[in-house]
């Protein structure tokens, strides 16, 4: 499959949008997750809240995905 340089750069850009957002999410989740699991160990009834807190930063990677999708859909070949 022949890919021109422009398409390749779009792909790299889309990948960076998702990848960097995922790194940010991972860093945030690692800290929140450790604290949340500590809280759950003390009070197991907080499990629902813990899932919620751990899941909150995932919006970052979803926004990264949205940007990547816009790059591909709006600017792609």
């Amino acid at each position: 499959m022949d890919v021109d340089i422009g398409t390749g750069l779009l792909g790299i850009g889309a990948g960076l949008a998702v990848g960097l957002a995922a790194i940010g999410t991972g860093v945030a989740q690692s800290r929140i997750g450790a604290a949340a699991m500590g809280a759950v160990a003390e009070r197991p009834e907080l499990m629902g809240r813990a899932i919620l807190l751990v899941a909150i930063p995932e919006t970052l990677v979803i926004l990264g995905f949205a940007v990547a999708a816009m790059v591909i859909v709006l600017l792609g070949p």
Partner: protein, 661 residues
């Protein structure tokens, strides 16, 4: 939905109090409330408290004794049964107590014997290793044991807490000063950085030797009494014999104990349950109040059970007990909550409770959760084969483990519902193991294949459409709840949020030319009005919180893009698995594809469930859900651990209540 609860007062003749509590316990219809905080005329605690306290403590002691005995049986020491068979009159506490006391000496003797055997095993095990090592220092001792006795020579094992061999020489000099040449002292390093020594000396000089060792603070190896008069070799042999005999003696003692207890364990288990029930009823007396002739108890009861409760009390006590509905109960948000949903939605109640119990008189979102979670799960997995495998797993788990835990049972049913949706969306997307169905069998898609290049945009729009519907529904529910409770500001804020969303989508429609340019002005106007309404309840802070609210709303809707993102990740992993299957030898391709599909399946069972749950908790519940509720725990019922229901936290008292004598 939340079952409407009502607060009742049960009033009757004072001497019937315990009978009434016993009857309420067996009915399991009410949750008792401490009357101390109830707006009642002055009432005392029921009298006879000393006699009742003594009876309660005697029962508590007996239950503890039974627990201890049942623990000894190993198998029947489980917590009190979740549902206690209520046959209180069939258990005579004095009879049980007499039986326990009669058997207690024998049980104590056997348990003491077993403990002594274990203690001996530990002690002998600790000594024998050291003694064997010391015996190796003078191997002749093993051969000359009888000769040493005939020559009236004794042996002592010593441990010097040093690795310095010169200390042995110093000890030898001291011994020479006392015994002359009539001794033999040999040493060798032992474990723990110490020196082990064996001293052979004439028995008639035993006193001098012990005095010298004591003076020099040399630590002897103190043997247990049973071995103290034996020689070193004889001690080792005796200890080895004990260790060989030990397991058999433990088994015999344990068998005898089991025989003594086994004959009674079922009977005691039943008695323990019934006595625990009686104890809980006596405890509940403290939550009631009394006047000179009457008692009063307060309780929450599901409204639909009110008539049954009244009939049960009248049927048992006639006119001696009166049931009175407290007028404040209907709107009291301190009421406990009882969820009752249609059968298909019931397995999802635990997912709501995992977040929080809804507060009394608020909305129970279980029905909507039961609709949206399987839908979103299926939308993300969207594969006929994956869905079928997950369905099979859910049904097997339900059949094999469902009886053990309500959470496992409900969780497996929720997974089964999601799996059915995954199969349905698999048909919509035309997917079976990714694109394998299409490749091998030409499986058509009812809508479109997700791995097609032109599927991305429609999938994203579809996810956003579902997100918009979900978020708008959340705001509408919040608006309805605020309106119903006459909370004007939150209602205005919800209206404002809905208008902001309408304005944003108007702008998006104009930008994508789905609406004419003339709609731009009205869309902006609607958005601004909405933003003002959403910010106004916050006062001046609204200037800051309003824009943040706007960003949050956009983020909430965009968050539903994960429905497409997770699904695309799943289908592309499946496509990669299928592609790799065609590279290299067929057997290797099958192995690699099977591995990747198994990995994808494991992810499909976990990730979409978490994401669907997150969308409910964060994006949906935040619009209307009011938590902080307290689950209804009927008097006489138990939680999974066997703990009994405690009195409900009291509402704020409006009338002081006199307590005590």
């Amino acid at each position: 939905m939340l079952v409407p609860m009502t607060k009742v007062r049960i009033i009757g003749r004072r001497e019937r109090l315990e009978e009434v509590l016993e009857h309420l316990y067996s009915l399991r219809l009410v949750e008792l409330v401490d009357v101390e905080a109830e707006p009642l005329p002055a009432v005392d605690r029921p009298s006879g408290s000393e006699e009742r306290t003594e009876r309660r403590e005697r029962l508590r002691l007996l239950v503890a004794e039974l627990d201890g005995l049942l623990d000894l049986t190993g198998g029947d020491g489980a917590p009190v049964a979740e549902e206690i068979p209520f046959e209180p009159h069939e258990v005579d506490p004095e009879g049980v107590r007499a039986e326990v006391r009669a058997l207690a000496p024998r049980v104590d003797e056997l348990t003491a014997r077993i403990q002594a055997l274990f203690a001996e095993e530990v002690v002998v095990g600790r000594y024998i290793g050291l003694l064997r090592h010391l015996l190796e220092i003078v191997p002749e001792l093993r051969l000359l044991d009888t000769e040493l006795a005939a020559l009236r020579l004794g042996t002592i094992a010593l441990v010097l807490n040093t690795e310095d061999a010169s200390v042995v020489e110093l000890l030898r000099e001291e011994l020479r000063g006392t015994l002359g040449a009539r001794f033999l002292l040999v040493s060798a390093p032992v474990e723990g950085g110490a020196l082990g020594c064996v001293l052979i000396f004439p028995l008639d000089a035993r006193a001098e030797v012990h005095e010298l060792l004591g003076r020099q603070r040399v630590r002897q190896v103190p043997l247990p009494d049973a071995y103290r008069d034996l020689s070193l070799r004889a001690s080792v042999e005796a200890m080895e014999a004990r260790l060989r005999a030990h397991p058999g003696e433990v088994v015999a003692a344990r068998a005898e104990l089991d025989a003594v207890l086994g004959a009674h364990s079922a009977e005691w288990s039943s008695a323990r349950d019934a006595l625990t029930a009686r104890l809980e009823q006596l405890d509940a007396v403290r939550w009631t109040g009394a006047t000179r002739r009457a008692f009063v108890a307060a309780a929450w009861v599901p409204r639909h059970e009110l008539a049954r409760l009244g009939d049960a009390l009248v049927g048992r006590f006639g006119g001696e007990v009166v049931l009175e509905e407290a007028s404040a109960g209907r709107r009291d948000t301190s009421a406990p909550v009882l969820l009752r949903n249609a059968r298909p939605a019931r397995p999802f109640e635990f997912l709501v409770r995992l977040y929080d119990d809804p507060r009394a008189r608020s909305l129970d979102p279980t029905g909507l959760v039961a609709l949206f979670i399987p839908l979103m799960f299926g939308l993300m997995v969207g594969d006929v084969v994956y869905g079928a495998v997950l369905l099979a797993v859910a049904l097997v788990v339900r059949a094999r483990l469902g009886a053990r835990s309500p959470v496992v049972r409900d969780g497996s049913l929720a997974l089964a519902a999601g799996s059915v949706c995954a199969i349905a969306f698999g048909v919509v997307y035309g997917e079976a193991l990714g694109d394998l169905g299409e490749r091998a069998f030409g499986m058509p898609a009812l809508w479109r294949h997700r791995d097609d290049a032109d599927a991305l945009e429609p999938l994203l729009l579809f996810a956003l459409a579902i997100g918009t519907a979900h978020v708008v529904l959340g705001y509408v529910l919040g608006l309805w709840q605020s309106w119903r409770d006459r909370y004007v500001r939150p209602a205005l804020a919800h209206v404002g949020s809905l208008l902001v969303l309408a304005g944003l989508f108007g702008l998006a429609a104009v930008a994508t030319e789905r609406l004419p340019g003339a709609a731009l002005g009205p869309a902006v106007a609607v958005g601004i009005v909405g933003l003002v309404l959403a910010s106004a309840p916050h006062g001046r802070l609204g200037l800051v919180l309003g824009p943040l609210e706007l960003v949050g709303m956009i983020g909430n809707v965009l968050s539903y893009l994960r429905l497409a993102a997770v699904g695309l990740a799943s289908v592309y992993l499946a496509v990669v698995a299928n592609e790799l299957a065609t590279v290299g030898p067929i057997w290797m391709g099958v192995v690699v594809a099977a591995f990747l599909h198994a990995l994808n399946l494991a992810l499909a069972g976990f990730t979409p469930a978490i994401q669907a749950l997150r969308l409910q908790y964060v994006e949906f519940f935040s619009k209307f859900f009011v938590g902080g509720g307290r689950a209804f725990r009927p008097f006489g019922a138990r939680d999974g651990s066997g703990r009994a229901a405690r009195p409900a936290p009291a509402a704020v008292p409006t009338t002081p209540v006199r307590t005590g004598a």
